[in-house]
Symmetry: C2
């Protein structure tokens, strides 16, 4: 793994960094393909929007883009994780008067997921761990991730690839590491993330391409029962793209034609973005 901390190649961070003390920061997880960071602009936009919401001073986009390119040179297929924290200082929860954010870019090997996940779908389960409700943090990819850690620790069976999480009100929100979609009567549904969950970049791209191709998209709260009566189900994130779900608990799903179609739309959209970005 290669790590750049505030522009220097090193692997350690100060104990007093507020990212470590309080999870006081945000992150992005980005696919690197042939040295290019996929959808980098969108990721950096989201990062800065998150910094705005948490009142962390914005990091220069050109600098982050430059550093992402530098790290990208080391790999043809990798995952770039960008972390921005509120830096060090302040007494207790109180932030310092002068905030100097910490930026950490790390390049990880691309995870070796079997191609069948994308082609034939995955098996999912429902997690017992619930997502808390909090509009102030909802949608953000922040560093307070204990709920996801606890949910992911619920199963060890390698035949299950993802766990689906509900909120305290029994609404389905997302997977532990993915956003969730279902298709019913040729309409695409995905949970509202007004009270919890992470608003993924791949999620927004899926909603964009669906709309562009006149596939109706509905973002709303829904329960387990609605999900289990779906025609097709899939999960998404920036690293896996789209994985059809062919089984949740004991309910089976077809890997349907609309999911296939969305996979193709996303691939085209991505290749276009990569070409324009070169």
């Amino acid at each position: 793994m290669i790590i750049l901390i505030n522009g220097e190649y090193k692997e350690y961070i100060e104990i007093v960094d507020r990212g470590f003390q309080y999870g006081d920061g945000l992150f992005e997880t980005i696919e690197v393909k042939n040295g290019q960071s996929v959808f980098l602009d969108r990721h950096l936009d989201r990062l800065n929007a998150g910094c705005n919401r948490l009142h962390i001073p914005l990091t220069n986009i050109e600098l982050l883009t430059f550093e992402a390119k530098e790290l990208g040179k080391y790999s043809s297929a990798a995952v770039l994780k960008i972390i921005i924290t509120r830096g060090s200082g302040g007494r207790g929860y109180r932030q310092p008067d002068m905030i100097q954010p910490t930026r950490v870019l790390s390049l990880y090997p691309f995870p070796d997921y079997p191609i069948v996940y994308k082609e034939q779908g995955i098996t999912a389960r429902f997690c017992d761990t619930r997502l808390g409700l909090n509009p102030a943090l909802a949608g953000l990819k922040h560093m307070n991730r204990l709920e996801q850690v606890l949910a992911r620790a619920e199963w060890n069976n390698p035949a299950i690839q993802e766990g689906i999480m509900m909120d305290m009100n029994d609404y389905v929100i997302e997977g532990t590491m993915t956003n969730l979609f279902y298709i019913k009567n040729a309409t695409l549904y995905t949970p509202s993330l007004a009270q919890s969950g992470v608003a993924g970049i791949m999620r927004s791209i899926i909603m964009t391409v669906a709309s562009e191709h006149q596939l109706p998209v509905t973002e709303q709260a829904f329960t387990k029962d609605a999900l289990l009566s779906a025609d097709e189900v899939f999960v998404s994130n920036s690293i896996i793209g789209i994985w059809p779900v062919n089984k949740i608990a004991n309910t089976l799903f077809q890997v349907g034609s609309i999911t296939r179609q969305i996979q193709i739309w996303v691939d085209i959209f991505k290749n276009e973005a990569l070409r324009c970005d070169q």
Copy 2:
């Protein structure tokens, strides 16, 4: 500041530590007085109980006690922060098969709070930032502390010493860095922490000494209005002890005799604990 990481004096931690990546850990904040860590046993019990709930392997209590004593030697009045994280490793949120927790003990200067806070009381305000609801994490002193950071960032006025936080259902829960109590008709009330909040060591001591002295204690959900109609209000934590609250927003409170009495009970209880611990 003096820092011991896994038994070594150093100041930096690996980027890949899950404490930094996900806030995947717990902490304790302990008063050090004349080299002794106050209520160390209780803090270490709570730490291990928290590790149990998060499925982090327990750290040897004797080792932590030894290291706390080592660090304590450096100071007559300090704050000892003990952090336990799930260590490094695993892919994404998934924990590694073999968890090797990281332990960090840091010794900070004792904060220089004016004595009038304890004697004449403080001014508090209500925070807009709400505490999320999540029974899986409620009560724990875990490292996911963005809500407290956002709440504490709401004000800069040095005349206000604490912010009171409510949950999503408008129930009063705690201060940004303290637990909260009020007295009404000679009964002590404190919020239920079943769905959010941190169950402080000082909170449990206050409830213990109150019960021992036949002061009725009620732990229940209550609203802003109930709080504002209280006879006396105070906040507590392991560092400040008990601070009476003489003003919340525009409502004034007496620093009443029951609060004074509880301060004395706690001081006696603490001196007893320090003597037995020597």
